[in-house]
Subunit: 345 residues, 2 copies
């Protein structure tokens, strides 16, 4: 597997992806197993419907990137204790809890091509099951990683809420600066991914330089992940993403391509974009026009460039890990960075 | 102050209440201070709107019974460390998080005589602020009490969700047994109060007998508290409770007075109650009639008797605490038990 040159394309990407999937297969299996084991442990003591909702919401075809990062970063720092999986799944629990609550907030109907929990069951079930996973995730982190891990985890969690609030404000601010966008995606997405990496290192007993490097890697991976996610909301292929495009524009969400276009557009086009954003009707009908205007001012290309730069910085964090016995883990982390850039769903 | 003879009434109650309030005044002040200090600590780092929502939702005239119990139980076990307040407030945080989410679930408009968070701000704000408090509470518990405290706290939290799910089921079961009602209120209310007491003891370094006794005291106090709450939903004075009566019946919620009445009623009256419960219209219009039927079969009197018995059991747990220097704390815990029975709001 290559070291993840940003921007690789075509057949090479497919080959790298296959190699990456083969390399992470055993880890993904260990994560699924740990989740099933944990669910079996508490399912006997909880309400049957709650267990059903959790099973439905957790085994949803998720990519398990967060717990995977915990496993990889733990091994990268020399940790060989398999027990890390039962701590790592806390990141998937918290992620899913966030999805449950987000889908209630957004009144989402589908998630990954099937009914969202709030629709398949109820809003009540989605809120409560999210709360359950929230509590369970904290317990697993505390048990597995002690108070230092709990501190990191809780700071990431509160940052997520903070990021969501920031996004609420920003939705009514059509002259958003890039810095404000990055503050939102740091809180909403990157902090938890940074925490997943850092706690893996912590579990392995890594020194603070290694912990910080992996936290930085995760933060950058998370930011790039979110930028690409926001790009796919404009440019994605609905068939492969399983998501409809144009949601962010319809909701007036200020993501990077739009922010860049507004900052670079000529007066007339800027006015046009701002007018569209200020009207629910125009946002609903004007997606194609907005997409055209964003493309005219390189909003998509420059966003992608930004993601590539950030992924380059993420890869830069891995340089200190150079022992022969961890080259495989290092290659997978590099491959994941590459995957984030080249994913189409 | 008396030792809380169940059922005391009239002027004696007012006198005892005044003595109780005087005894707990300094503790309540310490709790408010700890909450303000904590909020000030994180308000600088969080979104301004989030901080505003938290301030609105937390300083809501709540009675602070849960953190108060932590402080009292800590001192009852010989703990004199004032730092317990910064751990105790986690119970108020979690309680408030639950209220935020419950009000979203129930589409409640008011809480304690003013707009609920979901109305004063938004459902989104209520869900997210609840999540924030949830995470913050876990962090405070872990920091102050270590992993053993986190275990107790998380088990109570997950039990709360479990109790809510159980209640969802029970809402469609008009032939509920008392045991199922108690399973709901244990999870929904009593477990967290038991945990507040137990963690206070744990913080003081109490032995397992003392921890268990105070956990049992808290569980019983919580059960009685909920029974009285459910009674007030039928018999309360709207002016003093600040809550409208009849909500539980309108929602078809099977609480103890109704369960007892259905189990004791003659066929004709039982059929009538079940018919009313099965129709939204009848539930909306038939509160007075239902109240009359419940009274006819002593549903209210027997519920109250049950609460009195349980409070007696709670007081029984305090017998092992007999050192002279903790008589004040013991008297306050007994007074709180008495207060739970005699409160009218």
């Amino acid at each position: 597997m290559g070291m993840g040159t940003a921007g690789t394309s075509g057949g090479a990407v497919e080959g790298e992806k296959a190699a990456l999937m083969a390399a992470i297969g055993p880890d993904l299996a260990a994560i699924e197993q740990a989740m099933h084991d944990d669910l079996a442990m508490f399912a006997g003591e909880t309400d049957a419907l709650l267990a059903e909702v959790l099973r439905y919401g957790l085994f949803n075809g998720g990519k398990r990137i967060r717990p995977l990062l915990t496993l990889l970063c733990c091994r990268l720092c020399g940790g060989r204790n398999i027990e890390v999986a039962s701590l790592a799944i806390a990141f998937e629990y918290l992620h899913c809890a966030t999805l449950f609550h987000d889908d209630v907030i957004d009144k989402a109907v589908t998630r990954r091509g099937r009914s969202a929990v709030n629709v398949a069951y109820s809003e009540t079930a989605a809120i409560l099951a999210g709360d359950f996973l929230h509590a369970r995730s904290m317990l697993l982190i505390g048990r597995g990683g002690g108070i230092p891990a709990l501190e990191i985890f809780c700071q990431a969690t509160t940052a997520m809420v903070d990021g969501e609030f920031l996004q609420l404000h920003n939705a009514s601010n059509n002259n958003l600066a890039e810095g404000e966008y990055f503050a939102v995606i740091m809180g909403k997405t990157a902090r938890l991914i940074g925490a997943a990496c850092e706690i893996g290192a912590l579990f392995a007993g890594a020194d603070s330089a290694a912990r910080q490097a992996l936290c930085n890697y995760g933060l950058r991976l998370g930011c790039a992940f979110q930028i690409i996610d926001d790009l796919l909301d404009y440019l994605g292929d609905e068939a492969s993403t399983g998501k409809s495009v144009g949601n962010d524009f319809r909701e007036g969400k200020m993501t990077l391509p739009l922010i860049i276009a507004i900052s670079r557009a000529e007066d007339k086009d800027r006015e046009r974009l701002l007018t569209m954003l200020s009207s629910v009707e125009e946002r609903n009908s004007g997606f194609a026009e907005a997409k055209g205007l964003i493309a005219r001012y390189d909003g998509f290309a420059l966003s992608r460039q930004k993601a590539e730069t950030i992924i380059g910085e993420a890869l830069g964090q891995l340089h200190i890990f150079d022992q022969a016995e961890i080259l495989q883990e290092k290659a997978v982390l590099a491959g994941l960075a590459d995957y984030v850039l080249n994913r189409n769903k």
